[in-house]
Symmetry: C2
Subunit: 306 residues, 2 copies
Amino acid sequence: MDIKAVKACFIDLQGSICAALEALDGAGRFSAERFDYPGGGCGQPRVLQDGQKVEKAAVQYTHSVGEALPAAASERNPHLAGAGFQAAAISVIVHPRNPYAPTAHMNLRFFLVDGALPAWHFGGGFDLTPCYGFAEDCVAWHRAAKQAAGRHYAQMKRACDKYFHLRHRGEPRGIGGLFFDDWTEGGFTASLRLTRSIGQAFMPAYAQIFQKRSALPYGTRERDWQLLRRGRYAEFNLAIDRGTRYGLQSGRRIESVLASLPPLAQWRYNHAPSPGTPEAELLSFYLRPRDWLGEAPADDQAAPSG
Amino acid sequence: MDIKAVKACFIDLQGSICAALEALDGAGRFSAERFDYPGGGCGQPRVLQDGQKVEKAAVQYTHSVGEALPAAASERNPHLAGAGFQAAAISVIVHPRNPYAPTAHMNLRFFLVDGALPAWHFGGGFDLTPCYGFAEDCVAWHRAAKQAAGRHYAQMKRACDKYFHLRHRGEPRGIGGLFFDDWTEGGFTASLRLTRSIGQAFMPAYAQIFQKRSALPYGTRERDWQLLRRGRYAEFNLAIDRGTRYGLQSGRRIESVLASLPPLAQWRYNHAPSPGTPEAELLSFYLRPRDWLGEAPADDQAAPSG
């Protein structure tokens, strides 16, 4: 168990993801900041704003050393709350300019908790939030997810559908992907390998979709719909997301915690897209937990999670 | 104790506030909907969108009959959670188009809880959230608050400063006003009289400020700043506000619960206004809990709340 290996993995990923996004954008550049925390650890947020194709992207690495683990840090191990801990994490959010290009999110995290026995776990995943549905993108995204997660795909896909859900709307955030938490399966080396594999799969899968959809022409109608969908994204992040709650609870630097928020978002009372439009189809077809790879058994939803 | 009198008071207020806002706007009209709830009670949201001067306003009346009081409904009486209850409420939010005209919020509520003894309380208040500070507006607003709340002003003003605070930013939401909760002082008749007095003071005080500031010319710089400040408003409502949390917990109609969200809002990473600008002055001078009427004793902040 070596937190150095985890940190190196996350820092590598940060560098390669920023380079890939700059290449995709063709003009914008990521900022590079570093904040050393008094009690140990550091934050390295990198943000690209007002790019050519990327309206906002935040790719953040943090290493925290804390005296008391916040309750939001471990869902399945509430007894660890309050213990001394170290955490390393990378989080990625991309808000493209083109409404046909989906918003993407990736997060990987590692917790090491002090105690009678050192306890550790990995968590993270990635998910995709389109404003307009394209079946081939959903299939490609989930194929990449399956390739990265291997035999854990079905479990992690279900967990993703469950987590990225706006309960108050009865609406999924997007078309899902992978989500895992409190992960120790196969021991440290295997868990790190799996986490890295998921981290490395994210950008190639997203880049292909981003590039294809960023080339489509769009107008004020599509932009308007995108801003409404970004309103949903802000709702999820501010009212539901455990990562954001953890950030607010732990008193972390607020600009980093909220860097995931959309650059521009709107809310319109009683808005519903007209039936038969691509906007309505997003809601009625794409935003339903769905077996994109056509391989689930008939009783998939009822299958045990393991 | 007569919930009918409370309901009549809130419905009257809804009508007069909508009429006043339509007159101020000069073009927009409020929608009128009514939802009857299966278990009793009803919701009457009224929303004006895309007006001439009012970008969005929501003036909502609700009467709820519930089997189990949500925890968020009573801060000081957690033992009431789970009891059968009735609630009547009016909430008002106005997002003006002109960045010089402040956002305003008013809420009045009455809870009647079943039990060995019927328990009831009032709550509510109003507060003002400018994007640009005008000392005379702050003074006028707090004068109206004082006239409405009488000898309770100092207590309610402190409670308002305390409640409308973005902890994660270390920043007040606005310049405050009145806030009260679990209110039974002097019995039902006196409490209803006070609540009505606060409700009736809101619109005349706001109308004067709204009208004056909506006449000022503005450009893209002011609009940009307004949208950033509205981002803060969305943060407060989604991540902090107890009323919104109550709405999300109680499974109320989501479009009503979130009707307070700004029509358009933005977030920009690491944004800070240049020193010496009116935008910087909002943060450094106006968004500080302040004795706008110049009457507080030196130890006001330490004075007992009652």
